[in-house]
Amino acid sequence: MSMLPNWPLLAGLVARVRSLGRSVLHGDVVDAEMDEEFRLHVELRSDDLRRRGLTKEDADRRARLEFGHMDTHRADARVARGLTLFDEARFSWIDVKLGVRMLRKHPVLSLAAVFALAVGIPIGLAPGHAARALEAPLPGDTEHRVRAIRLWDPVTSSVTASTLADFERWSRELGSFSRIAAISTSTYNVATDDGRSAPVAGAEVSTSTFAIVRSTPKFGRAFIDADGDRGAPSVAVIGHDLWTARFGADPDVIGRAVRVGRRMFTVVGVMPEGFRFPASEQLWLPLPRVVAEGIAAQRSVRIVGRLADGVSPEQAQAELDATARLDRPELPAARARLLPEVVPFGLQFLGLPRGGLDALPEFRFVQALALALLVVACGNVAMLVYARTATRAREMAMRTALGASRSRIVTQVFVETIVLAMVAAASGVLAIDWLLGHVNLAAIAGESTLPYWLSLGVTKRTMLQAVVLAVLSATVAGVAPAIRITGRWVQQTLRGPTRMRFGGWTSALVVADIAVAVAVVGLALAMSKHANVLMASDRATGIAAAEVLAVEFRMPEADRFAASPSGDADRAANTQRALVAALEQEPGVRSVAIAEALPRMEHRMRPIDVEGVDLPPDTPPRWVRSVRVDVGYLAGLGQRVLTGRDFTSADVDSTRAVVIVNSAFAGRMLNGGDPIGRRVRFPTSAVSKEAGWHEIVGVVGHLGVNMMNPEHGEAVYLPAAAGEIPTMQVAIRAAGNPESLTSRIREIAAAVDPELIVGRSVVLSDVRQGDWYLTISIAGGLALLVVILVVLATTGLYAMLSLSVSERTREIGIRSALGGGRRTLVLTILRRSLLQIGVGALIGLPVAFRFVNELAEDGEGHTTTLGAGLLAMGVAAGIVIVVGLFACLVPARRVLAIEATQAMKGEG
C-alpha cells in the first residue's frame, strides 16, 4: 500500500497548480510555444498533402483550412489550461473608478468601513512593528553586525550588569567578535571655558567603540588605542548637540579644553548630528585600557561587539555557551548561574529577553488583542460591504442576465473593496506616521529622549505589510460577501422582488463584536480598579509626594578621580554632610532624606534569611526589597516608626547590625509574633557586614515600596553612614512648590563639590514605578480599544438594522396597513438585534470574567477582588447593551416614520 493516501489525486492537484502557475506567470512563453506548435502542425500537414500531389500553394491553403482558426484554438487551449477564471476576473480600471464612486455614493457606510480598517490595520501591525524596531541594527551598521553581550539571570528573568572583569575575560576568549568594547554611562558636570557648568549625559567607552558601531567624527578624530593607555593625555569626543549648545558650533573646536568634573580634557573629535551612542549621550571619554583588579574589576559596564566576518550571531552564541559551560572557580556562586547571551543592542538596552518582545507573555497578549481588533474590523467591513452590495441586488442580477460571469462580478466587488481598504490603510498609516512625528513618545515613556537608534517611523516593510493586510482584508471583506451575494440569490432577484436575509455568519459577526466589546470593557474596568488601588496606595504611603523634590546626586567615580580609596570615602562622607547641611539651611526646604531609593521608586531585590523561619529543602530563597538609608531618613520624610525605634547615629558605627522593616515584611515574612528583636540576614551579599545577622529594631509603614500591591512590598531598611551611598536619591521636602528649588539645588551642589553630579530632578509625585507605567499604558490602550470596538460594533449593528429595515419596507407597510401597532413593528425589527446583543454579551462575559479574574489575582493565586470583578463585568455588559440598543434607535425611528402607503409603493 502506498504511503501517500490517494496519490493520484495529489499528483493531479500538483500538476494543475504547476500548469496554472506556468500559464499565469509565463503566459507569453506559453502562448509563443503554442503558436509554434500550431505552425508546425500546419507545415507537417502541408508536407503530407504535397506528397499526395498537391502544389505547395494548394497544400498550404488546405492545411490552414483543415486546421481552422488559430485564435479559436488559442481560446480553447486557455479553457483547457483552467485560465478561464483569470480571464473573466481580469482587473479593470473601470472597477477602480466604480470603487471610488461607491465610496462617494455611500459616504456614511464608507466612512464607517474606512474607519474600521484605518484603525484595525495599524493596530494589527503595531506590535510587530515595535518588536522589529527594538531589534533593528544601529544606524550605520548596515550589515547588522553589532551585538551586545550580556548576562541573563534565568532566576529573576532580568539582565545582570556585566563587569569589567567579564569584559576582559570575553576580550581574551571570544573569537567570534572582531572587537568588543565596554561602555559605562554616567552624567558629568561639564564646564566650558565660558564658565558655564551643566550636567551632560556621557559615557566612558573602550577606544574601539566608534569602530565597532561604524561611526566616524564630523570633525577631528575618534579615539585611538593609545588614548586608553594609563598616563595618556585626557581627551574627549563630543556630540553634535553639545558642540552647538556649548561650543557655539565652533569649527575650530578641536584642541579646545573642556572641564569634566575637576579634570580638564582636550576635545579631539565631534560626532555627526544624531549620533548619541549608546542612547542619548553627548560626551565620550576613553575607558582606561588596563587590566582592572579588585573592586575596579567589578565596575558595571555594557558590552558590545562586532561579529567577525563570516560569523553568525548563532555561532557567536554557541561559542559563548561553550565558555559558560567551563568550570569557573573564580566566579562567585551568584554569578555562576548567569547565562551569557549575544543579543541585538536594543534588547540589551531595554533588558528584554533574548526572544525580544515576542518572548513576553504580556506582549503576546497585546498582539492577540491587536489581532482580535483587526479581525473584528475586517468582519465589520465585510458586513458593511455586504450591506452596500445588497443594495445593488438589481444591478448584479441585470449584469448576470446580460452575460456577466460570477467571477467577473466578484472581481468587481473585490476591486471596490480593495479601493476602500487601500484608502483605509493609507489613512491609517499616514495618521500613525503623523502621530509619531508630533507626539513626544519620550515624554510618554517618562524619559527626556528616546535612544537615538530607536526609530519608530513607518518603514517600507510596514507599508508593504499594510498593503498586504489591506488586500487580505478586502479578500475577507469583499470576496466572501460577493460570492454569497452572486450565488443562488441572484437568480431569486431575477425572478422577482425578494428580500436578502443576513445569514448566520453576519449574525455571528455581530455576536463576536459584542462579545469582544464586553470582554474588553471588563478588562478596562478591571484595569481601572487597579489604578484605583494604586491611587489608594499612593495616599496610604502617608508621604505628601507632591511636596517632595527627588534629586539624584552621584559621587564621582573613585578609580578615576581620587588618589586613594580611603581618601575617596572621606571625601564622599564630607560631601554628603556638607550637602545636607547646605540644603537644610536653604529657605523653603523643610527637611532632607537620603536613600538608595525613595518611595515610589524601584527598589533593589535580594534573597533573605529570617531567623526561626526554616524553609523546606530545595525551596528557593525568599526575596525582599532592601534599601540603604541615611540615619535621618524617616524623619526627613516626615515618617515615624509604627513600633520599635528609628535608626540612630550609633547604629552606623555599632558592631550590632540593625535593620528596620516595613509593615508588609512584618506581616508576611515572620510567621507572626513581635518583629522587634527578630533577626535577618542577606546570604548572597558580597558585603561581609551585611552577610551576618541583623536585628530588627523598628517597623514602618509600607513607604511606597510596591505601589501596585503595597501588601506584597516587603522591604528591609539598612542604616548607611555618610558617603556610603554612591548614588544618592535625596528627598527634599519643600515648604512651597518643590520644582522652584531645582536650579538653586544645582547651585548648592556645585558650591559644595564641583564634581558632585546632579542627576535627574523630579517631584516625587511624578515618580512612577515600572508597573505603574505599564498599567496606565495598558489601561489607556484598552480604553482606546474599547471605544474603537464599541464604534465598530455600533456601525456593524447599524448597517445590519438599516438594511433590514429598508428591505422590509413593503412588509412593514402591509403590517402597518393591517393595523400593526408601532410598538409591535419596532419589536419585530429589533427582535433579532436584541437576541444578538444578548448572545454576544453572554459569550463575552466568561471571557471578561477570565480577564478580570487573572488581573485580580495576587502572586499566590488568591483572588482578592472577585466582587469588584463581577461588578466590572456587569457594568461592561450593561454598557454594551446600552450602546447596542442605541445603535438600534435610528433604524427604529425610521420604521416609525414610514407611511403605510409610501411603503406599499416601494419595491422591498
Binding site: 508546425l40 507537417l44 483543415e66
Partner: protein, 113 residues
Amino acid sequence: MPQQADLLPGTLDLVVLKAISLGAVHGYGVLLRIERISKGAILVQQGALYPALYRLEHQGLIESEWGISENNRRARYYRLTALGQRRFGEERASWSRLAQAMTLALTATPREA
C-alpha cells in the same frame, strides 16, 4: 478503409492517451497515429486535438518536452506520465467493460430476452 466512426463524447481523451502510450509523439503525430491504429476509422478534428492535449497535460496525465521533428523543426513531444499510465489503464478497462456490455446487450436474441 473501414467506415469512419464518430467519437463518443469523452472518448477523445482516451484515444489520445492510447496514441501517446505507444511512444513519445508530437501533436500532428498523434493525429496520424490515431488514424493509423484505427485504420482510418477514427478521424480527430484537428481543432479538437490541441485543447485535448493541453487538458491532459494540465491534469498531469501527459508531459511534454521540445525535440526535433522529422522535417528538422522544433516540435513538442508528448509522453505519458505515471499518473497518465494509471488513468489510461483504468479508462481502458472501464471502456472494455462498457463495450462488452453494450455488445452483449445489442447482440441479444429474443430467446435471451
